[in-house]
């Protein structure tokens, strides 16, 4: 058991953190999905390769590495396809695709040139053709290819494939999701690997993004209650406000603990999938409550589009629900 990041991991965190700080204006954080240029720049930095399997030319980063990177993304309120595109789709292709698929798709995902998506789909297949649907697929609109996770198998579908239609829907954080329809769409079967592990890695990424967002919202709220005056004093001097901030601190520490617990085991360990599910159940809930409290404590300004805190809430609401809500996770854990 080791919860201390290695030197390499500390370096990784600092690199990502610095990159995002340089590229993000705190005042507009969370306003727009990350630009294609920034995404490519992250690829050039070697970040995505760091997280992908060695067999596909990556450095084989594990859950703890994903956690470290994702937490920094969350802290910057960055809206990116990290979870579904890299940790989900590129990883699944790297592990389950043939050489050509790896060459084509993983390499381009690693450089940031192509965005990939993961569609958990309700599809039937006739040999190598899929028919069916997947709703609200993150990043699908921009994706060059989709990894389609069906009930018993996983496929790779190119954006240009015939019979594939993707209708965009704007989501609460301002990103676009796709309503994906397959109609006899040609697909390449991937070695499935462990579908649950793939989904757990995506969820872990979201958990860490949530923890990162929580810490930003917490810090901004501490700052705000220190300076905001009402009735002639800073609102941070009111006992009730102090206790609310104390609750936020406790929630953040507890959320971080379950994130760590989920991430310090190997992705192939027996407890990994369930550990991530527990972390998702807890952190999604805790993050939403913390974000709501942060907005509330910011008063009128909190509910406008003008502060990062409102955008943080919107991002948190999304992350808390994609690939399974807290409530769904608790039902699964109770079973």
């Amino acid at each position: 058991m080791n919860i201390t990041p290695s030197e390499e991991q500390v370096l990784l965190r600092d690199t990502v953190s610095r990159f995002l700080a340089d590229r993000t204006d705190p005042a507009t954080a969370g306003e727009e999905p990350i630009s294609q240029d920034d995404w490519r720049a992250l690829g050039e930095l070697g970040l995505f390769g760091f997280l992908l399997p060695e067999a596909a030319g990556g450095l084989g980063g594990g859950p703890q590495d994903v956690m470290i990177v994702a937490e920094e993304f969350g802290r910057a309120l960055a809206i990116t396809p990290l979870a579904e595109g890299i940790v989900g789709a590129a990883d699944a292709i790297a592990r389950g695709g043939d050489a050509a698929a790896i060459e084509t798709w993983v390499a381009a995902a690693m450089t940031g040139d192509h965005v990939l998506a993961v569609a958990v789909a309700d599809v039937s297949n006739d040999g190598a053709r899929l028919t069916g649907r997947a709703d609200f697929v993150l990043s699908a609109v921009d994706a060059a290819a989709l990894v389609v996770i069906g009930d018993g198998a996983t496929w790779l579908v190119e954006r240009a494939a015939e019979g594939l239609s993707i209708d965009p829907v704007r989501l609460i954080d301002g990103s676009a999701a796709g309503m994906v329809r397959f109609d006899g769409t040609p697909a390449l079967a991937l070695t499935q690997g462990d579908r649950d592990t793939t989904l757990a890695m995506i969820r872990l990424c979201h958990v860490a993004e949530l923890v990162g967002a929580m810490s930003t919202l917490y810090e901004q709220t501490v700052e705000y209650v220190r300076q905001r005056q009402q009735f002639g004093v800073a609102i941070g001097t009111f006992q009730v406000v102090q206790h609310k901030l104390a609750r936020m601190f406790v929630a953040l520490e507890q959320a971080r603990s379950l994130m760590l617990k989920a991430a310090i085991v190997d992705r192939d360990d027996a407890g990994f999938v369930r550990g991530v599910l527990g972390a998702k159940a807890y952190v999604a809930d805790a993050a939403q409550r913390l974000a709501e409290e942060a907005v509330h404590l910011h008063g009128g300004m909190g509910v406008t589009d003008e502060l990062p805190v409102g955008r943080g809430l919107r991002r948190v609401i999304l992350l808390a629900r994609v690939f399974g809500s807290a409530s769904e996770a608790r039902v699964a854990l109770a079973a």
Binding site: L171, G174, G302, S327
Partner: protein, 391 residues
């Protein structure tokens, strides 16, 4: 609520239902269903307001002397319950509930003649100019100044969080007419024509993307002294009357119960979500009775019970609970949030699933404001602790 209604009350309910059947058009219902903010917008509500006005039921919470239909508390509650159940548009309260009672109570004869009919007809659309940047829950610290010059006040300052100011042609505002006396005592209540030179409205987009709120800048705006309501320095008294009247006049529960109904009818909730829905319903039903028994007591000549201080707090929590449940009820469909507004526009993007799903995200985000505006929940609790508990 299945209360024992008298035969007369049942007959009244039938009358209301049959009026709604006729007067509430599908277009009005659709507009109401697709409203994500607190109030409907004029292109949705004005026709409904006209229908109510024609029927004599628009200002049902005004006293008969001021033009109300003279309904008792139970009738008012029946009417509200029927309207919300039928899905009628929510009329903005700034004119009908806020400045209206101020005008028939404190307004001069001329003011009443000029403003009350226009308010009822919808010719005048009102905005409320109370909050200012930095004043927040501490209203008495307001800084907008009105300096008298002959028959006019010259008003300068800034108002914020002004709901639907983009539609308003009139604003009632608290302004400081005397900076030399204690905070509350130098405040007056002015009616400002939004078309006056020097008035600028700047939109504040909500986190939901809705445009409900505004900043209103006042730069040397000339306001006739004839537009002063009551006396100079009486503004704080009038504001207190206005806020108390807002609270006591009508109930939050009917709309909450109707919205909860619409939500639970639009989907099937199980497990913990079903449990939350039941809890919310019980809280709202309790609130309904909390509101109603206070109104009944007032009707019997008692002063408003201290419990009336609790209704906004409870309503905020139920409102946030309903919208929080809604974003959990429809899976990913709860998360859609088109950028285009309004949702009721003919060319608005299609929503996936029922309107309750399609508007869930916007409504959830807008509902965050309930615990902030009109006195934060913390302020409410402090008021309750002082005035009701006696600490």
């Amino acid at each position: 609520m299945d209360l024992s209604l008298s035969p007369e009350q049942q007959a009244f309910r039938t009358e209301v239902r049959s009026f709604l059947q006729d007067a509430l058009t599908p277009a009005m219902r659709r507009g109401a269903t697709l409203t994500s903010g607190v109030f409907a917008e004029p292109d949705v509500y004005l026709a409904w307001q006209a229908a109510l006005n024609a029927k004599g039921w628009l200002v049902y919470f005004w006293p008969q002397a001021a033009g109300g239909p003279g309904w008792d508390a139970v009738r008012r509650w029946i009417f509200e319950t029927e309207c919300t159940t039928a899905g009628a548009p929510i009329l903005p309260g700034m004119g009908l509930k806020l400045v209206g009672p101020v005008l028939y109570t404190y307004g001069s004869d001329e003011q009443q003649k000029r403003f009350l009919p226009a308010l009822r007809s919808g010719e005048h659309i009102w905005a409320q100019g109370f909050s200012e940047p930095g004043s927040g829950s501490d209203l008495a610290s307001l800084r907008t100044r009105a300096v008298r010059e002959g028959d006019e006040y010259i008003v300068s300052g800034q108002k914020i969080w002004t709901t639907q100011a983009q539609f308003a042609n009139w604003m009632f505002a608290l302004v400081r007419t005397d900076a030399t006396v204690k905070a509350q005592r130098g405040i007056s209540f002015l009616l400002i024509d939004m078309a006056s030179p020097g008035v600028t409205v700047r939109p504040i987009l909500s986190a939901s993307g809705d445009h409900e709120l505004n900043e209103v800048f006042l730069e040397d705006v000339r306001v006739p002294v004839a537009n002063l309501v009551g006396e100079e320095g009486q503004g704080w008294t009038i504001a207190k009357f206005l806020l108390e009247n807002e609270r006591g006049g009508t109930g939050y529960a009917p709309q909450l119960l109707a919205d909860l109904d619409h939500l639970t009818r639009a989907t099937t909730l199980t497990g913990e979500l079903a449990d939350r829905a039941v809890r919310l319903r019980l809280e709202a039903e309790a609130l309904e009775m909390t509101e109603l028994r206070t109104l009944l007591e007032i009707e019997q000549g008692n002063p408003p019970h201290a419990r009336s201080l609790a209704v906004k707090l409870i309503a905020s929590e139920v409102r946030q609970g309903i919208e929080g449940l809604a974003i959990d009820a429809f899976g990913m469909a709860s998360l859609q949030l088109p950028a285009e507004r309004p949702f009721h526009a003919d060319d608005a993007p299609a929503l996936v699933g029922p309107p309750e799903a399609g508007l869930a995200a916007a409504r959830y985000l807008n509902a965050r404001a309930w615990s902030i505006f009109g006195g934060t929940s913390e302020i409410q609790l402090t008021i309750i602790a002082k005035a009701a508990v006696g600490l």
